[in-house]
């Protein structure tokens, strides 16, 4: 154990002496967290819209003003040429085109129904889907209001009597930052820690100092533990800093126990640390280590459920996510921070992560070679 202490002491001396790495380790995650949390957003605002109103009646104007009042739509131009409207979609200038035919109001009042044409620019399918949803909502709203304002129409109610309203649990204000910040924090810290550990050991290999260590009686587990402890402490520190900033800047809710959050973080970090060690065992140069670490981290990030729901992945991908530590992290943070889950609720995530961390580090110790073949 004394040997491990000497290794830890040496590692901390080197880390604190490196005047470029230390600030990077702290500034990078904070910067990324601020930037990504503001930028990564599911909500679509300011959909560019063009309206062609050929009716110019009270009803058509009421419909237009409903669209312009919505924060989701931004009316760019209006005109009377359908061809022009279609062309601006083709040129990708607008996302949605609404055409109100002549006699819109007359048809509504006389026939009890009228048609409008919505044309969506589906170059970005997600955006088009959202635009369709928002527009549908506005049209339904218009219908209900128009019927109630024109008693002539009440005889033939156009819609059912049951109105569906929505309320969002756990994120009542639909603030996506609340949703994203804990996950982004987990990703960033994983990325940094995995890279730091992998590169640190490979750097010793490149410098030649690892050979000097390999010729001493240091045991394999002592060597790994001597690297593990410093980076584990650093990861917990960065995590604390990140959560504090998340609370101060984004006001992320902390419904669950803070102890649980830290307990889990402490169990989670060994997963990425161990992965870094494992990579370093097989990489000869920092370049190789970097590519390999990047390969895994990229897959982990894209499949962790932060950007696309895990449930919508094909079944084999969902099964493969058992090996994705960041997926556990994202799931855990959402449950504890946003829903206030307790230990009983998250046991199913906590234990696998603990086993994962121990397993991957054991594998790293096992594959570390003091004597090469």
């Amino acid at each position: 154990m004394r040997t491990v202490l000497y290794l830890v002491q040496k590692e901390f001396l080197q880390i604190f002496r490196n005047k470029t790495m230390l600030p990077l380790m702290l500034v990078m995650p904070i910067f990324q967290m601020l930037l990504l949390s503001f930028a990564a957003n599911y909500e679509v605002k300011d959909l560019k819209m063009r309206i062609i109103d050929l009716d110019l009646s009270g009803a058509s104007r009421a419909l237009c003003s409903k669209f312009s009042a919505s924060p989701n739509f931004k009316i760019l131009a209006s005109g009377f040429s359908a061809a022009e409207g279609m062309e601006s979609i083709a040129r990708d200038e607008i996302d949605i085109l609404l055409q109100i035919p002549p006699h819109f109001e007359r048809d509504l009042l006389r026939e009890g129904h009228a048609g409008v044409a919505l044309t969506l620019n589906a170059i970005n399918a997600t955006k088009a889907g959202l635009a369709n949803g928002y527009a549908g909502g506005i049209l339904r709203d218009f219908n209900a209001q128009y019927v109630s304002e024109n008693p002539v129409l009440t005889a033939t109610p156009p819609n059912g009597l049951i109105e569906v309203t929505y309320s969002n649990w756990y994120n009542p204000r639909l603030d996506y930052k609340t949703f994203m910040v804990p996950g982004i924090l987990g990703e960033i810290v994983s990325l940094i820690i995995c890279f730091l550990t992998a590169l640190n050991i490979v750097r010793e290999r490149e410098m030649g100092t690892i050979e000097q260590l390999n010729v001493t009686p240091i045991r394999k587990w002592q060597f790994i533990l001597g690297k593990f402890i410093p980076f584990w402490i650093i990861s917990l520190f960065i995590m604390t800093l990140g959560l504090t900033i998340g609370k101060l800047v984004f006001d992320i809710p902390l419904l669950g126990s803070l102890w649980l959050v830290f307990g889990f973080t402490a169990a989670f970090m060994p997963c990425v640390l161990g992965l870094g060690f494992l990579i370093s065992n097989f990489a000869e140069t920092q370049q190789q280590a970097m590519f390999t670490a990047w390969f895994f981290i990229l897959i982990f990030i894209l499949m962790c459920g932060l950007f696309t729901p895990i449930e919508s992945m094909p079944e084999w991908a969902q099964k493969a996510d058992v090996l994705n530590p960041i997926a556990y992290f994202v799931q855990f943070m959402r449950m504890v921070l946003l829903k206030g889950a307790n230990f009983q609720d998250v046991k199913g995530i906590f234990y696998p992560v603990l086993v994962y961390g121990i397993g991957v580090n054991a594998l790293a110790i096992w594959t570390y070679r003091k004597q090469v073949a």
Binding site: Q212, T216, Q371
Partner: protein, 241 residues
């Protein structure tokens, strides 16, 4: 006859189809300075790395301090010191921190490390630089320091892999003084080098060509055997075949 501290028989290392070390056999006795000479790529470093437990031998027998290198490489490591051509101290630590670290790793007591540090600093006349980063020291100083650090735990056998590579002649001379001093205290040293004049400093020399030991004797005997004026000439005659 004394018991050899290093003993090999048909020690071989192959990398795929390439045979780096080809059935070498020799014995080294306590207090000897045993030189491994040869061109780059002759297999000197490979042989040394096998003996120090860093590289697994492909076949043959190798014993260091009575321990079988094949079976118990970790036991060998407790008994030896090792310094390689690659720089082996931490450049971003000070002299004092390097000594403390390696002393600690070898399990020396804190008080012993302290005492060793001051002894070493006096011997190498590094007093004014003890809290300087190793990075800022000239190469020759670093190599002398590295040798002293490799012997902190007082091993009976020390392996030196091209320790004076790239060092100026004067410092090289001082370095050899350190080696002599250790040998005088009964330490067995095994040195690889490609500086032929350094060969004269060794008690016995093995000349390696293409993985094989082509000649093994004292410098004087080798010169007589090859009818040569200097070790350089011996080597050239050998290499020409």
């Amino acid at each position: 006859m004394e018991e050899p501290v290093i003993f090999t028989e048909n020690l071989t290392k192959t990398f795929g189809r390439f045979t780096a070390v080809n059935k070498i056999s020799f014995s080294v006795y306590p207090g000897e300075i045993f030189g491994f000479l040869g061109a780059n790529g002759a297999g000197k470093t490979t042989a040394l790395r096998m003996l120090s437990g860093l590289l697994k031998p492909s076949s043959g027998i190798a014993q260091v301090a009575g321990v079988d290198v094949m079976r118990q490489p970790e036991q060998v490591k407790r008994r030896i010191g090792y310094m390689s051509q690659k720089f082996s101290l931490y450049e971003d630590l000070t002299i004092r921190e390097n000594i403390r670290f390696y002393g600690g790793v070898y399990g020396l007591k804190r008080a012993v490390v302290k005492q060793k540090t001051s002894e070493l600093i006096d011997k190498l006349e590094l007093g004014a630089h003890v809290d300087q980063l190793v990075r800022s020291l000239p190469l020759g100083w670093r190599q002398k320091l590295a040798l002293s650090v490799a012997m902190l735990h007082e091993p009976r056998i020390v392996f030196l892999d091209e320790p004076t590579s790239g060092v100026d002649p004067l410092t090289r001379r001082q370095f050899w003084d350190l080696i002599y001093e250790a040998a005088h205290q009964g330490v067995t040293l095994m040195v690889t080098t490609h500086y032929m004049e350094e060969a004269e400093y060794c008690k016995r020399i093995s000349m390696m060509v293409d993985g094989k030991i082509e000649a093994l004797d004292t410098p004087g005997q080798l010169k007589k055997q090859f009818n040569a004026e200097s070790m350089d000439e011996v080597f050239r005659k050998l290499a020409r075949g």
